[in-house]
Amino acid sequence: MELKLKKLDDNRYELDVRGNVCPFPQIFTELALKEVGDAILEVITDNPPSARDIPVVFEKKGYRVEKKKEENYWRLIISGSD
């Protein structure tokens, strides 16, 4: 099984994990961050517990996370760890 990280621009990727139950959006985010290096990662999830957890978990790890509600999903914009 695999997931695709879509390149949005030179320094930005998008990971769409809609339809996945908790804690898989968080687990996939962890995997994706290892792949994108210093680039910004935008995670799309429609799973409320994951939308709650991802900012907390990755801010603890030193990332900045911006959370935006868009229609019936969240966009979590994660940028470089300090």
Binding site: M1, E2, L3, K4, L5, K6, K7, Y13, L15, G19, N20, V21, C22, P23, F24, Q26, I27, F28, L31, A32, E35, V36, D46, N47, P48, P49, R52, D53, V57, N72
Partner: protein, 479 residues
Amino acid sequence: MSELEEITLNLGEISKFMWRYSLGRDSGMESLHFLRIKIPAGRIKVEELFEIAEISKEYGRGYAEITDRQDIQLHWIDSNRALEIFEKLYRLGYTTDLCGQAFSSACHGDVRNIAVCPLSGKINDFDVAEHAIKLTEFFSGNPDFIDLPKKFKIAFTACGTDCVRAGINDLGMIGVERDGERGFTPLIGGGIGATYPGPSLGKHMPVFVPEERVFEFVKAVVEIHRDYSSRESKAKARFKHLVASWGVEKIRETVEDKIGELEDFEGLPPLKFSAHKSSGKQINGLHYLTLPLIGGILDAEKLEKIAELSEKYGSGEIRLTTTQNVIFVDVEDLNALKSELERHFKIYDGDAFYNSIGCASNFCGKTKDVHAKDMLRRLLEVAGELGVENEVLIYVSGCHNACGCHHVAPFGLAGKLIRRDGEIIQGYDFYIGGDIAKLKMGKLYRESLTSDEVVEVFREIVMRYKSSGKSLKEFLEGL
């Protein structure tokens, strides 16, 4: 698209966990996630019980509870360590609920742990567990059944009682015999949560499903839920809504279109509720013994002790009940087991301690103090004081989602927040007169009581009942 515009993430070993495992959302007791481990047919070997106790100690602060669908539920699970836990469960052969209810739309419902008479095969030789186990293996992680409009609950019993609350399952399979042949006659569309069309009791589909057709029958019914239940909104997505819209006859016709004709079977057998309490003789001459647990609350040390005692006095198998208790089976020396249990557990006297249930509202965050399980404990104490512990049955839900099945008990409570003296505090609605085995819904007796008022009202009802000269059932009907 060039290679540079897309990165492929290989999920490797993680793939084996997908659609078989999830964490549920907690919002109370400082717990963020629960882990609801499905125990197929509620049967667990001591080796596995020891392992779950270890998982509880390492990941769940040593706490555990038995749910009213025979799962073992842990709390305080750290999502960062979920894969470690899933790997341990995978090795044990266990899966979890998918907990898709967190989504805002009607999707990712799964088949929940299939409830089974906990003494099936021990007090009769019609063992229904094999059906539940085969169906669990089929539905768990099956890509065709992981995106139901909403969860689907199934129960089997054939002991002559309704020990699984069949009538509040989406599909309750009641064991029957017809001309010497064993099979089931189903109740469909039960569900007492607040979603459309409101709390509903199962309706009898008057057919006979012989044992060899159980798998295809259940699969067909779940497919009908998957394909025809509403996906318009979560509130309309339970199977009970489809049953109410279509009617039993149309559901039957649709099942028969899929699997062929089913024979008629009129007359649902009369059932009584049973929690398979205390102890009794099995058909093999050995005994079972039920350990009552208020609200199903345990901890890792107690799980280990249960496993140890089962190894020492029984066959090394434990059975979990839908009233949140534990049953030791194949016990030879009942008195020795009883006396050793008394050293480690509080053994309550009275049916109410075996029959009653309370949901985990303290963890899901639906209640403030007094929580559902604590409210249950208080009322059980009062029942003991008043000497009616063998007569009452109490179900407590923390909210109107009815996880504690409050509608179908003689005494049922549903939590809600109420305003008193300008403050928002925990309150309860008080229901009376429900009877799951008779498919009778309770009625709302008093609304918006504080926990102290609940106790007062309970006392008052019991005192009036005791001087009435009537049976409790007659008395509650007259209130």
